[in-house]
Amino acid sequence: MSSEPNIRAFNRYGVWAIYRFEMARFLRTAGQSILTPVLTTSLYFVVFGSAIGGRMAEVDGVPYGAFIVPGMIMLTILGESISNGSFGIYFPKFTGTIYELLSAPISPVETVLGYVGAAATKSVILGLIILATSTFFVDLHILHPVAMVAFLVLTAATFSLLGFITGIWARSFEQLSFIPMLVVTPLTFLGGAFYSIDILPGIWRTLTLFNPIVYIISAFRWCFYGTSDVGIEVSMLMTATFFIAGLAAVSWIFKTGYRLKN
């Protein structure tokens, strides 16, 4: 019998095992995982950047092609984070292998670190690939690169966490795709991914301010060009609040065993 590790405080091997297991699945299908966003991004440039952008002048002093880059990255980050985050935990529930997680000496926080960490890593990688692809189409100058990366990571983590919660909540594959398809994607499109919300007429602009994704895209765009539709502090605060609310929800879920335990 080998010596007992100190798992009293933190089960780091457990976190690492989940992370590695989840990343391995992603890397196994790396070609496909990477090709899709590259192709999609190129299509967006062709459709929005060239076809529409040709007729649009600058937005807030930024050429239209460059203007849509942050929104495009966010569109992928939000969708991928939610679906990666939800799939990772939904699948063991679906196959029944969740028994192992429930019987393991691992805390909710550690479980979340493993699953959400892996999901967020995947979407950050995809986000950076899209960013790299865009440089083939437009000239990019990132004004606040550190803030940009930090915000990318925070957003990926937040939405992976929301995905994780969706995955625990979902009882079917339909429910699993419900949130990303019917909530996140429309809100992202309406959230100024491809336009400045300033161009909207008064009432619509006000309504749009209830869409939390507006703040995320706006803040992310600020990292690139230093201009934003809403205050950058408000945006950061919103995203961080989301993240903390998500953590609270997860700890409640594990405490009560909601949809996990009998």
Binding site: P5, I18, L101, I106
Partner: protein, 308 residues
């Protein structure tokens, strides 16, 4: 012997309102093989799942190796390995990846030697690179055992390890369990097969409708189970048992038409030939006879009726 698991006053009522366990008290001794017997729906899996942290008990406490399973769940679960009843595997992963995940989840550093040892002991080494979905059912069950053993637990729960398993794999399973016991692992298994309990267990517990109706050393239980009955249909009714037959444990039933003899089916001498000879000598004639072995089911019935 000191208990390695103490279950006190554990009951479980599922959200559906069904009471699956009623105030269970049970101690498992360190290093023993304990077999939990009981018919379908008795509550065996519920009890195991409570100890392993998969089901939350409605009342009661469980202490595993000195750690409360709720308050000190980390230390408690670190010691425990579980092979659940249902076959559930990471179908798209390889055997090795899946077993490595288990070891890490349970708080142990990756150790290729240990993984190899476990896979070899379950004859899975040659298949380590194969996706689990390409394995047969029996092989999948082995993978689940390998996963449960990957973190070197000192307590192992096997929930119906031999359900739907062929004779050879069952033998292998029994050998493995014995080997683990020799290494000091405490094993709790559930089964429907009395011969399995007989073959393996040191002690046996019987659960019936959520109640633990008996906990006994195997030998004592087997003695009870070994009882057989010979029933003789007489040609003429008897008013009372004749004194010439007092050596045998006999009962007169069915208005004097039926003579019932209870004997030990495992004994060298059953006493049947001499009984029949004596009966012929004193002129008691019978027209039919049959023997009947008391089954686990009979024991359940008699135990349950005894309690009421």
């Amino acid at each position: 012997m000191s208990p390695i698991i103490s279950i006190s006053n554990v009951s479980k009522t599922y959200a559906s309102g069904l009471q699956a366990l009623k105030r269970i008290d049970l101690e498992i001794n360190k290093g023993e093989i304990f077999a939990l017997l009981g018919p379908n729906g008795a509550g065996k899996s519920t009890l195991i799942n409570i100890v392993c942290g998969i089901v939350t008990p409605s009342t009661g406490t469980v202490v595993a190796d000195g750690h409360d399973i709720m308050k000190d769940y980390r230390q408690a679960r670190f010691k425990i390995g579980l092979v659940p009843q249902e076959l559930a595997t990471d179908a798209f992963e390889t055997v090795e990846t899946s077993v490595r995940l288990s070891r890490g989840l349970f708080g142990r550093r990756t150790d290729p030697n240990q993984i190899e040892k476990v896979l070899r002991s379950l004859t899975l080494w040659e298949r380590r690179g194969d996706k689990i979905m390409t394995l047969s059912g029996g092989m999948k069950r082995r993978v689940m055992i390998a996963k449960a053993l990957a973190h070197e637990p000192t307590i192992l729960f096997l929930d119906e390890p031999t359900a739907g398993v062929d004779v050879e794999l069952r033998r292998d399973m029994w050998n493995l369990v014995r080997e683990l016991r020799a290494q000091g692992v405490t094993i709790i298994l559930t089964t429907h097969y009395i011969e399995e309990a007989e073959e393996m267990a040191d002690r046996v517990g019987v659960i019936h409708k959520g109640e633990l109706i008996l906990v006994e050393n195997k030998s004592a239980l087997m003695h009870k189970l070994g009882k057989k009955q010979l029933t003789l249909q007489l040609q003429e009714p008897l008013k009372a048992l004749p004194s010439e037959l007092s050596e045998w444990k006999l009962e007169l039933k069915g208005d004097g038409y039926v003579l019932e003899y209870t004997y030990d089916g495992k004994a060298e001498r059953t006493g049947i030939p001499s009984l029949l000879r004596r009966m012929t000598d004193i002129g008691i004639l019978f027209k039919d006879l049959n023997t009947h072995q008391s089954s686990l089911e009979d024991i359940f019935v008699s135990l349950v009726s005894e309690r009421q």
